[in-house]
């Protein structure tokens, strides 16, 4: 036995122990990418370097044996710098997408590829589980989200994006209708109490996640029912309240307290909440309609867009007459005009300053509004409201033309001189924006936009213990999923706050790639599933849901269209784990990057050279363990590549398909082909067992998700499997279940 010191810790280790072994036996983590105890050491990655007193050089912990009285530092600046450089160099030639563009684009970072893949494999409950890691109301959001995910879906370069939102709605509905609904686990009570102000998408999301973390959560809302803008801003025909009710009930069922009809500043003060609770989340939303600031707009007959929608949602039928003008081009304007149609207005006209191309509303909303008979007047906007006896009479409409693009890239409308017409209307609905009502929150710092100022990473306001998310904070009103994303991230920060930690949300680093022209040529086209809708005639006269939902068959086929952009190894990739741990600057050493684009999915093992970091583990394990050289290193220097022998397909090489190469690969360069319909890139569950296909009884780690066994890994760090355990058993287990 010899005595050594690692990071100030005095240890006694056996002779011939390497520094890496000594450290890991004593719980000291030293990063490594090319080391695996089952294979001879190699020393390529340079990540395990440490400093030892008396040695001028950095030592590779994987290969340096401990010697008596050695004093080792695994965390010195020099060590950290060396590791960081190694990682930055590796990242500079590592090509792939850690996460799919859809998921990265989603403000809540919902794992779209993950749940789409699960739907393709019929794992609906698992799909809901995955969605609920980010979104508390899949059915509702699936219906109303403008789905930024689909805008980034790369399937659009082949034909059209995957109908991600519709799939979310489908699987959400399926869960709501099921006897075996997914109920998220709740951690044991922490004894901490959180008050959430506002029961809209942001507030309920914060409540949902904080409750799941074991905190006591009470949601205060000024309205009669929870749901916020989802309930009072979105018309029934887009989101039936029965669906929303059921999803909100699920949140309540987790143990969240709901207190309705409570308004801060009126019924209770913020200070009282601060006193009574360990943290306060302000998620008021933005409930005031913006004014157009034109003459005469304060008369009777002129109403704000969301005010109008709220009235209708409350079950009132406001008198709007036969001629209704809606000002604005966003989704609220569309909701308002289509609601007006449903209230019986004969002549519904949308006035918009620019043209259809510039309209921020969803295309489908515009299309459906037009089908329902809404008249669109582009390049038109009211410049004056004419009233008689305080009641709306007519609107003076200024004509516009498009000028130079503004900073948003949209062409700026310019008034056309002298081109004004006067048109009579019974009601004018102003749907041009909304802002928060901040009464009762005077104690908090307010931004120039009249929103509550909150730190973008910690969501903290100017008052300790008070956090703000969603429309009420910073940039103001946006889409529901933005508020949901902020609330989910804030819940993690608040949880840490409640534990006395001061952390901020930081966007993780992901490797992302830009694909060249022609990349998508190889994919076969497949038509996107369109959401079936009620015929326009039928929907004009009722608030029945327009979207009819997609069938299971359609959903599965649609899910199969996913291109699986995100890496299947994301949850086990050591490279990305270290890259984030060491806070790499990925662009630091950017230069030529290999783009071989030759992913080979032809056999049991999927190979992707663009993700390979040349640790050599696969090559070594192949030779050392199986005694074959199915894989080898080819070429030199920067262009070195791992290829099957003689560059044959793996199936034609001497590969025994023991799968050891896959199990030692630190990145996604080598993966098992999952014996299922669609390859999954999700975090699986794990069950330890023993392979009984021969009398060796190797320990195994069965990876599964729902009822699907995805793959089998060795059960411990000393085991490597053979083809039977690695691949044959997966099929057997899946077969047994069916």
């Amino acid at each position: 036995m010899i005595n050594i010191t690692i990071d100030g810790k005095k240890l006694t280790v056996e002779e011939n122990t390497t520094i890496l072994e000594a450290a890991s036996e004593n719980g000291i983590k030293i990063p490594n990418l090319c080391y695996d105890g089952r294979v001879e050491t190699y020393g390529a990655c340079g990540l395990c370097v440490v400093e030892a007193e008396g040695s001028a050089k950095l030592l590779r912990a994987c290969s340096t044996k401990c010697s008596e009285s050695m004093v080792i530092n695994t965390k010195s600046d020099r060590v950290i710098r060396a590791r960081k450089t190694a990682l930055e160099l590796l990242i500079s030639d590592h090509d792939g997408d850690c996460k799919a563009p859809c998921s990265l684009e989603c403000p809540a970072n919902t794992d779209c590829q993950g749940y789409v893949g699960l739907i393709a494999n019929g794992e609906y409950k698992q799909a809901v589980r995955l969605i609920k890691e980010r979104i508390a109301f899949p059915s509702s959001i699936g219906r109303i989200c403008p789905h930024p995910c689909e805008k980034k879906c790369r399937r659009k370069y082949v034909d059209e994006p995957v109908s991600i939102a519709a799939l979310k709605g489908f699987v959400g509905d399926m869960d709501l209708a099921s006897d075996d609904r997914y109920i998220p686990p709740v951690e044991p009570d922490t004894g901490k109490r959180v008050a959430v102000i506002g029961g809209g998408p942001g507030g309920l999301t914060a409540a949902f996640f904080l409750r799941r973390m074991g905190h006591g959560v009470t949601v205060f809302d000024m309205m009669e029912k929870m749901g916020g803008m989802l309930r009072y801003g979105i018309p029934e025909y887009r989101l039936p309240k029965s669906i929303l009710d059921r999803e909100i009930k699920q949140i309540e069922d987790l143990g969240v307290n709901f207190k309705n009809n409570v308004k801060i500043g009126r019924d209770i003060s913020l200070d009282e909440l601060k006193k009574d609770y360990d943290a306060v989340v302000v998620a008021l939303g933005a409930w005031n309609s913006s004014k157009m600031r034109i003459a005469g707009e304060d008369c009777e007959g002129v109403i704000g867009g969301i005010d109008f929608l709220r009235e209708v949602a409350l079950g009132n039928r406001p008198e709007i007459g036969g001629r209704v003008a809606i000002c604005g081009g966003g989704n609220t304007a569309m909701d308002a005009c289509r609601t007006a149609v449903r209230l019986g207005a004969k002549e519904v006209r949308v006035l918009y300053r620019r043209t259809r191309d510039e309209m921020p509303a969803e295309d489908i909303e515009i299309k459906e509004a037009m089908e329902e008979g809404v008249d669109f007047c582009f390049l038109s906007s009211p410049c004056e409201i004419i009233s008689e006896n305080g009641k709306l009479k007519s609107v003076k409409i200024q004509k516009y033309e498009l000028g130079e693009p503004d900073e948003s890239g949209r062409r700026r409308p310019k008034a056309v001189d002298g081109s004004v017409e006067e048109v009579e209307f019974d009601t004018v609905i102003m749907a041009i924006g909304q802002y928060p009502e901040l009464e009762g929150f005077e104690g908090l710092e307010i931004s120039a936009k009249n929103t509550i100022l909150a730190d973008s990473g910690s969501f903290r306001t100017s008052a300790d213990g008070v956090f703000a998310v969603g429309d009420v904070s910073n940039r103001g009103a946006s889409i529901a999923i933005e508020a949901i994303g902020e609330a989910q991230k804030a819940s993690v920060v608040i949880d840490r706050y409640l534990n006395g930690e001061d952390v901020k949300y930081k966007k993780p680093f992901y490797v992302e790639r830009t694909l060249p022209d022609g990349y998508f040529d190889k994919f076969e086209k497949a038509v996107r599933a369109e959401m079936p809708v009620l015929p326009a005639d039928e929907r004009k006269n009722s608030f029945k849901e327009v979207a009819l939902g997609i069938s299971e068959e359609t959903a599965v086929n649609e899910a199969m269209r996913c291109l699986e952009c995100g890496c299947h190894d994301y949850y086990e990739c050591k490279l990305i784990e270290y890259a984030n741990e060491y806070d790499v600057k990925p662009q630091k050493f950017s230069g030529e990057k290999h783009f071989r684009n030759n992913e080979d999915k032809s056999s049991l093992i999927i190979r992707n050279a663009d993700k390979c970091i040349l640790c050599g583990l696969c090559v070594r394990v192949c030779e050392e363990r199986e005694g074959v050289t199915a894989l080898g290193l080819i070429g030199r220097g920067f262009d070195t590549i791992v290829n099957p022998e003689l560059s044959l397909p793996l199936d034609l090489s001497s590969c025994t398909f023991c799968g050891a190469c896959v199990d030692v690969c630190p990145t996604g360069a080598l993966k098992e082909k999952q014996p299922i319909k669609k390859q999954l890139a999700v975090e699986e569950e794990s069950r330890k067992s023993v392979c009984e296909l021969c009398d060796k009884l190797c320990p195994i780690d069965i990876r599964y998700i729902g009822d699907t066994v995805t793959r089998i890994k060795p059960g411990d760090k000393n085991t490597l499997l053979c083809k039977k355990g690695k691949f044959d058993l997966t099929d057997k287990l899946n077969g047994a279940q069916k």
Binding site: Y42, A44, V49, A86, I613, R636, G637, F638, D639
Partner: protein, 583 residues
């Protein structure tokens, strides 16, 4: 009378083989004239060289001989009128090249016939082996080498006795002695010359080493790009076997040792000892982790000793003359002599062997004759891609492992590339990085990707796309690669960059900040302009311009169309009036 043609690779490249066969035909007609050949005497700049020995053994050296000279030479020799050959005789000045050297490793080079063991035996060949086998124990041999202070001549300068001793003390009956003849530095040819010119001195030195460590098998790992060396060494091994110097029970001493050649496929990294062993074993040439060192676990994981050619070539001399005598030469830290391959913008390029302790200035100016074409000396690159450059201000540095290392360069295996004022130092660093990038085996991250990124940064700097901060980033990466690379190739790859940054930082800054190449070499940053006051309108530049970028009337100043110009520099080279300028 004897005519001896210098037939090293350098001589043959200059036409020595043709000269030899011309002599062969002619000597048939003349009696009393022997024809022979020898290796390289180091004066590569004078090849083909023909040495004429009269019957007293006196030498007349003819240089730059062409096959057309042969008849006159034969005539002069047969008529004993060598004074007729005055025009071909080596000049007094060029003779200085050899006079200032001290030759131990090269002691027979250019003197004996490398393909004839008898010529080697005639100059005490294999006497050292005999002495060792008959009168010395292995420990005494190692002791003698220790006294000599001989250090590895491959570049690192590790004490030879120490390695031998370690291998000797390693447990195991099966041991190997390996010669590293994978000389890969651009511009280095010391080992090639020794094997081509005096292969038996290598065999003898290795035999002594094998006896010292207790090896029964010796392998010479020589690059396949050295076909003549391989051929002569093969012949030498065969002859040594026939004479009983190799094989079973050598000189009836009971010591047995066999020898073979392994031709390498030309990967630079196989000059790294553990990569060399991998290659010997039939694997991809990639370095192993050290420890274990080859002395503990080398070839086939048996204790092995590896030295390079020059190191072994000194051994027989040390045994015969004593370690003391060897140690009398040189400095406190560096004993004996060192062979250098002197190349670049130098007047007298070739192979030189000098005692340690001589200054760089003496080697470059006194032996090498200084810079060609009356240009100014700028720097000398020592140690090839693993080494660094040394500027004018440090020319009085003595040749000594420690003193050279202090400059940031290294002794190296002996490459000495001399650069003049027209060499861009950033371009020079890029040249070497290009080399190491291509020669990296790809195993470790710092070398595979670090050298590549360094090369890319240098490329953008010489192309005028350097960015502020590039110098600092480059420097940072250099130190990271030095720290993190697995083997010597990667650890030393940044040296050309670091030394040029140290001594010629202003050139980097000029490229990045002013988009100028001070040496006028980087084509992206220069333009060729004709000075109309100097141009006489001879039209020579216009006629020779490959892209017709030059126009002008006869006897009137010409002009270069910058848009068409491809910056090949031909106009400048062709102008007799120095009218073409680089700006």
């Amino acid at each position: 009378m004897k005519i001896v043609v210098g037939e090293g690779s350098c001589g043959i490249a200059a036409g020595a083989a043709k000269v030899y066969s011309a002599f062969e035909k002619l000597t048939e007609k003349y009696d009393g004239i022997d024809l022979g050949f020898t290796g390289c005497n180091g004066m590569c700049f004078l090849e083909p060289i023909v040495d004429i020995y009269d019957d007293n053994g006196d030498l007349t050296r003819l240089v730059k001989v062409s096959e057309n000279d042969c008849e006159a030479i034969i005539k002069a020799v047969s008529e004993n009128s060598l004074e007729d050959l005055e025009a071909l005789k080596i000049s007094k000045e060029d003779e200085e090249f050899l006079n200032k050297q001290t030759r131990i490793a090269l002691r027979h080079c250019g003197l004996i016939n490398p393909e004839d063991i008898d010529e080697y035996l005639a100059c005490d060949g294999y006497k050292a082996v005999e002495k060792v086998l008959k009168t010395m124990t292995a420990q005494q041999v190692i002791e003698e080498i220790k006294v000599s202070g001989l250090a590895g001549r491959g570049g690192a300068g590790f004490p030879t006795w120490f390695k031998w001793n370690a291998a000797r003390n390693s447990e195991g009956s099966e041991k190997y002695l390996i010669c590293n003849a994978d000389e890969g530095d651009p511009g280095a040819f010391m080992d090639r010359a020794v094997i081509e010119s005096d292969p038996h001195s290598l065999i003898e030195g290795m035999l002594i080493g094998a006896y010292a460590i207790g090896a029964g098998e010796m392998v010479v790992y020589v690059r396949a790009e050295y076909p003549l060396a391989v051929k002569r060494l093969e012949k030498a091994i065969k002859q040594a076997e026939e004479r009983g110097f190799l094989g079973e029970n050598i000189l009836s001493s009971g010591f047995s040792c066999k020898m073979r050649i392994k031709a390498g496929a030309g990967a630079f990294v196989c000059g790294e000892e553990t990569a060399l062993i991998e290659s010997l074993e039939g694997n991809r040439g990639m370095p192993r982790l050290k420890p274990p060192f080859p002395a503990q676990e080398g070839y086939w994981h048996k204790p092995s000793n590896i030295n390079n050619v020059e190191t072994y070539a000194n051994v027989a001399w040390i045994i015969l003359n004593g370690g003391e005598k060897f140690a009398q030469m040189g400095t406190e830290n560096s004993k004996g002599t060192k062979v250098f391959a002197l190349t670049g913008k130098i007047k007298r390029g070739g192979l030189v062997e000098i005692p340690m302790g001589m200054t760089l200035r003496e080697v470059i100016f006194d032996i090498g004759g200084g810079i060609r074409d009356s240009k100014k000396f700028k720097a000398v690159q020592m140690g090839g891609p693993s080494g660094g450059c040394i500027p004018e201000s440090l020319l009085d540095t003595v040749i000594d492992y420690k003193a050279l290392a202090q400059t940031g360069a290294i002794m190296g295996s002996g490459g000495m590339v001399v650069m003049d004022e027209s060499t861009c130092m950033v371009g020079m660093a890029k040249f070497f990085l290009d080399f190491t990038t291509k020669e990296s085996c790809g195993k470790c991250v710092h070398c595979r990707l670090g050298t590549k990124r360094m090369y890319e940064m240098l490329t953008r700097i010489v192309e005028g796309n350097g960015r502020p901060g590039d110098i600092e980033l480059l420097e940072e990466l250099c130190y990271s690669v030095k720290d993190g690379a697995l083997c010597g190739l990667g650890q030393t790859a940044p040296n050309p960059v670091l030394t040029t940054l140290k001594y010629f930082r202003d050139e980097y800054e000029a490229h990045i900040n002013n988009k100028k190449c001070p040496a006028g070499e980087c084509s992206a940053l220069i333009k060729y302009v004709i000075d109309s006051s100097k141009c006489v309108g001879c039209t020579k530049c216009a006629k020779n311009c490959p892209v017709n970028a030059i126009s002008g009337k006869v006897k009137q100043p010409h002009a270069i169309d910058a848009d068409k110009c491809i910056k090949c520099g031909k106009c400048r080279g062709n102008c007799n009036f120095s009218a073409v300028e680089v700006r």
